[in-house]
Amino acid sequence: MDVFLFNGSWPLLSVLIFLPLAGACLLPLMRGARAAKIWVLGVTLVNAALSLKLYTGFDLSTAQYQFAETARWIPSLNICYTLGVDGISLLLVIMTTLLMPLCVLCSWNAIGTRVKEFLACILVMETSMLGVFLSLDFVLFYIFWEAMLIPMFLLIGVWGGPRKIYASVKFFLYTLAGSVLLPVAIIALYLHSAPHTFSIPALMGLPLAASLQKWLFLAFFIGFAIKVPMFPFHTWLPAAHVEAPTAGSVLLASVLLKMGTYGFLRFCLPITPLGVEAFAPVVIGLSIVGIIYGGLTALAQTDMKRLVAYSSVAHMGFVTLGIFVLNTNGVEGAMLQMINHGITTGALFLCVGMIYERTHSRELANATGIGKVMPIYVTALAVFSLSSLAFPGTNSFIGEFLVLAGTFAFSGKIAMLAIPGVVLGAAYMLRMIQRIIWGGVSNPDTSALKDLNTREIITLAPLLVLVLWIGLAPTGFMDTFHASVAHLLQQFHTGLKL
């Protein structure tokens, strides 16, 4: 079977990646902030519409890389410009493009200074995030992976909250330090392939020595674990989330965190199966710790953004847990949970942002008892919170259920350890909505708050639909990755025997 399926008549993936960049380059031509916002909204909407073509044209029956494009790029090192999408990246790509217009919408009034530069950063972010998910050449991947740091650094540092400088520098240094060994691992893989290549599909299933696989896994792991972030490496996350502007938090939570888990799926499992096998117990342990620790810490937060940030640590713990139990249910649950977390946590950050725009405070105590004055808002918030705690009927229920089912199949004891995380999730989320909706009014200013306007409703509506859609009819979404997950696990198990 050929790895690539060239089923696009025109380079759809390249257009998806570079359309936002082109849009950013044309931004200086726009007169005034409003025109710039409309322009960027248009660009992101067009990109979102284009990405739906991926879904309609996607062949569900194969694990091949579809819509593939390849061109020689740096021939002397056999580096190619190779793009492709498979079941593992498809939903992530579509989720990214769908979130971008929402990020523009949620910043419509929130960003008052340097609007054009802000929008340019958003567009460059889109280019590099899509590039990460679509690249099938290691060098190309790494370029997008690292280049993303620059716009994110600026997003946090220029438009962030009071401690933005600390947060942005910490974010940059932490994530960069994590990925410095990545190129070393990539080059080592290159030198062990014959003929030398940076092509990711070609590097899968190389018969590498076990010790080498372990070292490579560690090099990958540090980079990806920091991005996820897994338990001991998570400290950059609350700082960055809290200080970033709403759009930045959404991008961080919904897309950037997925890159780490995407990296595990795309690289670690097929390329270093022996490393995965050797370190899986450690990763599972860290995931459990992350789930419990994230839940407990979230329970103690008074700042809503921090609460959601720590809940991310817990949720991403479920994702890594699902991946490293290494069975179909676990991996599929993790895949779905990546999308779910993107939708739900993104939406929660949007909700927090909306309150912040009104009260200029993220303190839970300052936003209590607003159920009466903002009924539409609290309804949306309640649905997203229920989704976050994996209430049946919402999207996260399916994902978490699959992950736990996979974990039970792997080991009942470990699954029992993860169960308290679910309870904690319910505890901190219910505590938050209880206070916001029904809590006594501690801040008299809240009585004058206006409910959501049309723009804000439009921002939240697509996510609300997706929460219920995935929750009630997940099949259409899960069908996209059945073939790829099966292929991935087969690659992994063959890799073990080499």
Binding site: W73, I74, P75, S76, L77, V139, Y142, I143, F144, E146, A147, L149, I150, F153, L154, G157, V158, K164, I165, S168, V169, F172, L173, L176, A177, V180, L181, P183, V184, I187, A188, Y190, L191
Partner: protein
């Protein structure tokens, strides 16, 4: 034929003669600047054309081929850049400004001949021409009341320079003694035959030691911070990049004479590389003056660039060439902004860049990109250069060196990030807006485009460098 092959140099010689004539009168600084700029651009254009030329000149003392011309392009780009954005010479005494341009041109001429030299005596003379012209640029800076920092740094530069020259000359004497020739094409085979004689390695090492001074690599780096800080901004802009590229050309020429499977040479260079990277990066962390910071960072870059030389292979040399040429452009872009931010030619502290984003968005963009590029963040030239170096070093099995280099990249990020942070995240306060002017903006954009192009389309220059090394190695 000779005239054609030598024409880029001839243009520079002619230009310097005109500038010399100009310098005889009073108050003709602007004229001298104009002549220098025109000369540089003309020579740059010629050198671009000359990439396809090859031949030998002056009893086989100079060789014109892709290798030499490639370096000349970037040397002249550096000269043109400094002549354009430094044309006001804000911090040079009025009466010596024309002379400043004269020395700038002569230094460039020396380097152009240097990269073409394939004979030891010519090489030495060219190196001295380049060195002495540069030595003289440093003390021409205006004296500040009670502060003669330019004299101190000039003295350090000259003293260290002379010692380095002595060491190199001593090494050359070994090479001559062993091989009985001063021509590289005789030296290479003869030296290889006598490689078992320790004096061969000693000779090469001593020569390299002298050259490491110019590159500001670890044990020979002591001059760099003081000279960078003490020299005027334009001078630093020039000596920060261009001479390093020229000296890289010479180092590779000598290494091409060495036995590619030699361990001693590789071991020594490895130690130098590791020490340079570590020391440069750590010391740069603590700096407040941006030129001093860039001085330490350039020590680190000297360490990175040695990664390619350690491999003792053509592909490694090509990676080093790519890196150092990219470095010339990146540091030129950075110094363009530094020169223009400095109103009267005073040194620029990192804090002085506060709010540069609102004072001049383009200047902040140029400096920001060059900082990220120097730090090795994609998609800029610095990343591709580092990536090639790491690839070639790992190909030669230097895993520890590669890991040290990778870790050093992470350390280096911090101080580059500080500059970006100050420019974009801090308020301008009472600091004045910065005016770039049309020509400097255009130049800045050109440099920016080169930095990005080398980052996303590196193949062109990399292949050119590899072809050049292979052609010259034969």
């Amino acid at each position: 034929m000779i005239l054609k092959l030598f024409s880029p140099e001839l243009v520079v010689i002619l230009g310097s003669l005109i500038v010399f004539t100009v310098s005889l009168g009073q108050g003709r600084a602007r004229l001298a600047a104009a002549v220098t700029t025109v000369t540089a651009l003309l020579a740059l254009a010629l050198s671009l054309v000359s990439l396809a030329w090859h031949g030998e000149l002056f009893q086989h003392a100079l060789r014109i081929d892709l290798y030499s011309q490639l370096f000349k392009v970037f040397i002249l780009l550096g000269l043109a850049g400094v002549a354009i954005f430094g044309n006001l010479l804000k911090d040079i005494r009025d009466d010596v400004r024309p002379e400043y341009f004269l020395f700038l041109l002569l230094g460039t001429l020396g380097m152009m001949i240097l990269v073409s030299s394939i004979e030891l005596i010519t090489l030495f003379v060219a190196l001295e021409l380049a060195s002495y012209a540069l030595f003289l640029l440093v003390p021409l800076r205006q004296e500040r009341p009670g502060l003669r920092i330019q004299m101190e740094s000039a003295a350090k530069y000259v003293m260290f320079g002379i010692v380095a020259t002595g060491i190199m000359l001593f090494g050359m004497s070994y090479i001559f003694g062993l091989t009985g020739s001063t021509y590289f094409h005789d030296i290479a085979p003869a030296l290889l035959q006598r490689w078992n004689d320790p004096s061969a390695i000693v000779g090469i090492l001593l020569v390299l030691g002298g050259l490491l001074f110019k590159l500001a690599a670890f044990p020979m780096h002591l001059w760099a911070p003081d000279v960078y800080q003490g020299a005027s901004n334009e001078t630093t802009a020039f000596i920060a990049g261009v001479p390093k590229a020229a000296v890289m050309a010479v180092m590779i020429r000598f290494l091409l004479c060495a036995n590619p499977s030699d361990h001693v040479l590789a071991a020594v260079l490895t130690v130098v590389a590791i020490a340079s990277m570590g020391f440069g990066n750590l010391a740069a962390l603590a700096q407040k003056d941006i030129k001093r910071m860039l001085a330490y960072s350039s020590i680190a870059h000297a360490g990175y660039v040695l990664l390619g030389l350690v491999t003792l292979r053509n592909t490694g040399y090509a990676a080093s060439i790519f890196y150092i040429l990219g470095f010339v452009v990146m540091s030129l872009a950075a110094f363009l902004v530094i020169c223009l931010v400095s109103r009267t030619g005073e040194n620029v502290l990192i804090d002085d860049l506060s709010g540069l984003h609102s004072r001049s968005p383009l200047a902040a963009l140029i400096l920001g990109v060059s900082m990220f590029a120097l730090a090795g963040i994609p998609p800029f030239a610095g990343f591709m250069g580092k990536f090639f170096l790491l690839t070639e070093a790992l190909r030669s099995g230097l895993i520890m060196l590669v890991i040290v280099a990778a870790v050093n990249t992470a350390i280096g990020i911090y101080y580059y990030l500080t500059v970006v942070r100050v420019m974009y995240f801090s308020g301008a306060g009472t600091r004045q807006p910065v005016r770039l002017g049309t020509i400097n903006s255009a130049l800045g954009l050109v440099l920016l485009v080169i930095v990005v192009l080398l980052g996303v389309m590196p193949s062109f220059l990399l292949d050119l460098a590899l072809t050049a090394v292979r052609a010259t190695a034969r």
